[in-house]
Amino acid sequence: MILGEYIEEAINWLTENFSGVFDAINSFMSGLIGGIEMFWMKTPFYIVIALFTGIAYWKAGKSNAIITLLGLSYIYAAGFWDETMQTLSLVLASAIIALAIGIPLGIWSAKNHTVNKISRPILDFMQTMPAFVYLIPAVLFFGLGTVPGAFATIIFAMPPVVRLTTLGILQVPKDIVEATTAFGATPKQLLFKVQIPLAMPTILAGVNQTIMMALSMVVIASMIGAKGLGEIVLQGISQLRIGLGFESGLAVVLLAIILDRITQNIGKK
């Protein structure tokens, strides 16, 4: 009980004293999301479908390209196109920020034992705390809307890429690291010429996981007003329209499959 009070105090204190900071973050994130959303919304649907199908064909092969084509066609035909593009924008924006923070953090904790020790329990916390809980401070900081949704999504989606980046770098064989050092590599050369390239498959697995988790979170984020497919799912629940809930839920699944197939294979080749 008492812990809860402290947390409340802390959040209140943060909102009161750092409102300027939160406003800045708010405008930055809404700008980023808005920009991405603008791109997907302005681009005609058939070009978007062609683009995704093309990327899927290039990276993930013929069968995945067909899945992508059919999936996006269904989404368009079912009338969820705009919502899907909103969701996609939110996922991409959140994932970009999560990766931009998560990958360097993962590298740092691979290099520094203390950082690793500190970040580990924090990551555990971030991953296991029920995702809904993040919505509350997000609303307090940023009000209702898409930005707090993105904020909660970033927190929820960041841990996998941090962990897998750390793991990937620590898994680079000791003798290769030693050999590189023996030939006079600086720590920077070691990182960029050896450790990151060798850790890349693991890091990309982390990227994939982060994107997947971001997608699962943006639906929940609709509860605090984030736009997109989540809204329709929520509508289906609140109005007990099982058909609408199922249709929009299927759109989420298809989007997930497409993003998963593409990001899973992005490192290959």
Binding site: E178, A179, A182, G184, P197
Partner: protein, 386 residues
């Protein structure tokens, strides 16, 4: 605590720290292959890593060309690792995501040398280690032996003063290993690098080393040339090693030959004197030399008698040329095949073809079997009697 002269086990039980290397004093001269030998855990790899400070020793000093490695700051260290040292590893330590050529050029890349220049240099080295045609392959597509050639090439591409080889051939299968050892020796003849070679295999140490240091529990127990180690082990530990060595690969002709054998001198000794020498030394065959001891061939008792009976004064016509000469450095293993071609003594000649000694088949067999000559003679006698 090391200074208090406590033993390794004592220090371990008190502090929980393992003493990897202590009291290791060695001088490695330019251009020699210096082998540090010991079993796993003897501290040999740690010692090697102290040389380029992959591990910084807690005590002691290391000098390379009068520069104290142990005092260097990071920048100097980086520089010396790039220019002076190169290292070859047991498990190769190659970059699996890169091609052979970019692996070989890696050291140069770290130095910031342009792609064109470093690849040109890398190609030369690739040719040197016999990997031409493989330069664009991935590391994983090569066999272990070939991968280690890449490892060696990467080391050589830097043109280092000192090559540090950490059990470089230990992960290879025996045939490839022997081949790599031979090639290293060949390369060394051309390059004259200073090589510090770590191994747990005494035979390898003997084959490669100009000098060998044997380590046990972090301390050096003996330093010497291969011959010194074999013939004069410093203590029981070294002796136990030496016992298991295949002597036929180490013992040289010069150590088992009979030096200054009786000879017949062409032009000076006629048939009668030759006959007398044979009778005096109780043999039916003599090497024939010029007066400056240039080896000419052998002469047999019955031919000398024929000469004498026919009244010929020179022994020249009766000399049987022998092609089966060995040099003083030949090892027993190389001499054994000659036994199937001759049952006579084998001449040992130096590089100017002077006779320096002879090896009798009996002593050759005695050396390889460990039986004494009396026993061998008995066995041979029995065989003849049958």
């Amino acid at each position: 605590m090391i200074k208090e002269d406590k033993s390794k086990d004592e220090i371990l039980s008190i502090t929980g720290c393992n003493v990897a290397v202590r009291n290791a004093n060695l001088t490695i001269r330019e251009g020699e292959i210096y082998v540090i030998m010991g079993l796993s855990g003897s501290g040999k790899s740690t010692l090697l890593r102290c040389i380029n400070r992959l591990i910084t020793p807690t005590e002691g000093k290391i000098f390379v060309d009068h520069e104290e490695i142990t005092k260097m700051n990071n920048k100097e260290l980086l520089n010396i690792r790039r220019k002076e040292f190169a290292m070859v590893f047991q498990h190769f330590g190659l970059l699996p995501h890169r091609s052979i050529i970019s692996n070989v050029a890696f050291g140069l890349e770290l130095q910031g040398i342009s792609k064109e220049e470093r690849e040109k240099k890398a190609l030369e080295i690739i040719e040197l280690v016999d990997l031409k045609g493989y330069e664009n392959q991935k590391v994983s597509e090569l066999s272990g032996g070939m991968q280690q050639r890449v490892g060696l090439a990467r080391g050589l591409a830097n043109n280092p003063e000192v090559l540090l080889m950490d059990e470089a051939f230990s992960a290879l299968d025996p045939l490839i290993r022997a081949q790599m050892q031979d090639e290293l020796l060949l390369l060394q003849e051309k390059m004259k690098k200073t090589i510090v070679f770590i191994t747990h295999d005494l035979e390898e140490a003997i084959k490669l080393g100009d000098k060998i240091a044997i380590m046990k529990d972090g301390e050096i127990v003996q330093i010497g040339t291969p011959e010194e180690i074999i013939t004069n082990p410093a203590n029981d530990y070294v002796e136990a090693f030496v016992e298991n060595v295949d002597r036929s690969k180490i013992t040289t002709a010069s150590s088992i030959m009979f030096p200054k054998p009786k000879v017949a001198r062409l032009t000076k000794d006629g048939p009668s004197i030759t006959l007398k020498i044979m009778r005096d030394s109780g043999t039916n065959i003599l090497p024939v030399v010029r007066t400056n001891r240039t080896f000419l061939g052998f002469i047999h008792l019955k031919d000398v008698i024929d000469l004498k009976n026919n009244g010929i004064n020179s022994i020249e016509s009766a000399i049987k040329e022998s092609v089966m000469c060995v040099s003083p450095d030949s090892v027993i293993q190389d001499m054994l095949p000659l036994l199937s071609k001759t049952n006579h003594i084998i001449p040992v000649v130096n590089e100017s073809n002077h006779l320096v000694g002879v090896v009798s088949p009996t002593s050759l067999i005695a050396e390889t079997t460990g039986k004494n000559k009396g026993e061998i003679n008995n066995i041979i006698q029995k065989a003849i009697d049958l």
